[in-house]
């Protein structure tokens, strides 16, 4: 990849390429979308065929599917309340899509579609629009009182209302950038240290092999850390979605 004396090429891993060659080229289906399709297949297989036996005493796959179900269901009901149960499929789809996308990206040669700001921002805008539509449909114009907390001094209205509006509008940005930046940073660091291993290992013979052990050890630790981040970021995305849904349903 990166030879000595040249810049470490940590970013070409994020470049989009056609999926399955000419077929992907013809319909503009990139390898990023290919991994989304794989994620879709994995999630559907887990949740459909994994639970198809409907066993009273679940096997491993069914137990995993039920654990995922319970985890997200408790998250939604815990944050939004019982009336939030109807938004559970959305939160579950988001959580599993991001989680499986993050984890798929940890495999060698795989692409991490959550490392694209366009993808994360599109998901964040989806959440933002759904939440806003839900809030408007439940509360009508009363929804706009959300931007001025009850009991606040009227004198501060010119200050508070713009701040509340900006904070509301910045939700999709922070949601998108958090996921995107975490995934990019992790994969860049993995790539940088992997390049160090190759550079040092190839540079100084027997000493180089010992020297390369250090960045290799760092990469081993980083992969563990990235697995944590993969789960954590999916969880953060899901729980923030739940918090926004709570605000939309209850207005504070």
């Amino acid at each position: 990849m990166a030879a000595e004396g040249q810049a470490i090429d940590a970013l070409s891993q994020f470049a989009l390429k056609p999926f399955l060659g000419g077929l992907g080229e013809s319909v503009r289906l990139s390898q990023s979308n290919g991994h989304m399709l794989i994620a879709l297949g994995l999630i559907a297989a887990l949740m459909m065929w994994g639970t198809a036996r409907r066993a009273i005493v679940p096997g491993r796959v069914q137990a995993l599917a039920e654990t995922a179900y319970d985890f997200v269901h408790d998250l939604v009901v815990g944050q939004v309340g019982e009336e939030g149960a109807k938004y559970f499929p959305l939160v579950f789809s988001l959580f599993m899509f991001i989680l499986v996308g993050n984890l798929l990206g940890m495999l060698p040669y795989a692409f991490t579609f959550t490392s694209h700001i366009a993808v994360t921002f599109a998901l964040a805008m989806l959440v933002f629009l759904v939440v806003t539509v839900i809030a408007l449909s439940i509360h009508g114009t009363h929804f706009f009182s959300y931007f001025f907390p009850e009991g606040a001094p009227k004198l501060l209205a010119p200050l508070i209302i713009p701040i509340e509006i900006i904070s509301y509008l910045s939700r999709p940005v922070s949601l998108a950038v958090r996921l995107f930046a975490n995934m990019v940073a992790g994969h860049v660091m993995l790539k940088v240290f992997a390049t160090f291993v190759v550079m040092i290992g190839g540079a100084a013979g027997i000493f180089g092999i010992f020297g390369a052990a250090l960045p290799l050890a760092v990469n081993v630790a980083l992969i563990g850390f990235e697995l944590l981040v993969a789960f954590l970021q999916a969880y953060v995305f899901a729980i923030l979605t739940c918090i926004y849904l709570h605000d939309a349903v209850h207005l504070h």
Binding site: R28, N33, M48, R54, I56, A122, A185
Partner: protein
């Protein structure tokens, strides 16, 4: 939790400037900069369009088929567990009732047995008392008869005492004084002597 999130964000955002620096290097393979920020590339936009299609399918499959299936399984399991718990509860109640029945029956039987024992022992005591009474009556009758015989014997003995005393006195007097003793006089003397002793 919150703190680790913040530190992760800082970590992620802190990496951005270095990425920008790396991206600015000449001779880079891509058209320059981070591929993710190359919004002029139609692949970037097509990716999002496809994402909405794929995510829409995912949402549809989850909401329409997968999640109801899991919910049904979980509900069936909960119903099964609740049913089993209820059955166990009912079984415990019936066991408790059976135990109470058993204890009541035992207590009743014990009371009956004790009543029977008490009746039998009273009966036995009454029988024994009656028998003893009969025996007592018989014995006292025999005692009475015996006492009558004794009294009769004594009376007879006492009656013959005077004749014996008179004969003895007559024999003594005739020895002392010779024959020709008036028997009537002796008899009177014996009678008066006996009367004096109170045995008359």
């Amino acid at each position: 939790m919150q703190k680790s999130l913040v530190s992760l964000m800082v970590l992620g955002l802190g990496a951005l400037p270095s990425l920008a620096g790396a991206a600015g290097d000449p001779g880079h393979a891509s058209s320059g900069g981070m591929p993710q920020l190359d919004f002029g590339n139609h692949w970037t936009i097509a990716q999002v369009v496809w994402m909405f299609v794929i995510f829409g399918v995912l949402y549809y499959v989850m909401a329409r088929y997968a999640l109801p299936q899991v919910a049904g399984t979980l509900a069936a399991r909960r119903a099964r567990i609740d049913g089993d718990l209820e059955a166990a509860h009912a079984a415990k109640l019936s066991a408790d009732a059976a135990l109470a029945d058993h204890q009541a029956a035992t207590a009743k039987t014990r009371a009956e047995a004790q009543a029977a024992i008490a009746t039998a022992s009273q009966q036995a005591q009454a029988d024994a008392a009656a028998k003893a009474e009969v025996l007592n009556a018989k014995l006292s009758e025999q005692i009475g008869a015996a006492e009558g015989r004794i009294a009769a014997g004594r009376d007879a003995a006492m009656g013959s005492l005077r004749a014996v005393a008179t004969d003895t006195a007559e024999a003594l007097v005739s020895r002392l004084l010779g024959a020709g003793i008036d028997r009537a006089a002796i008899d009177r003397a014996v009678g008066s002597a006996l009367a004096a002793r109170g045995n008359g």
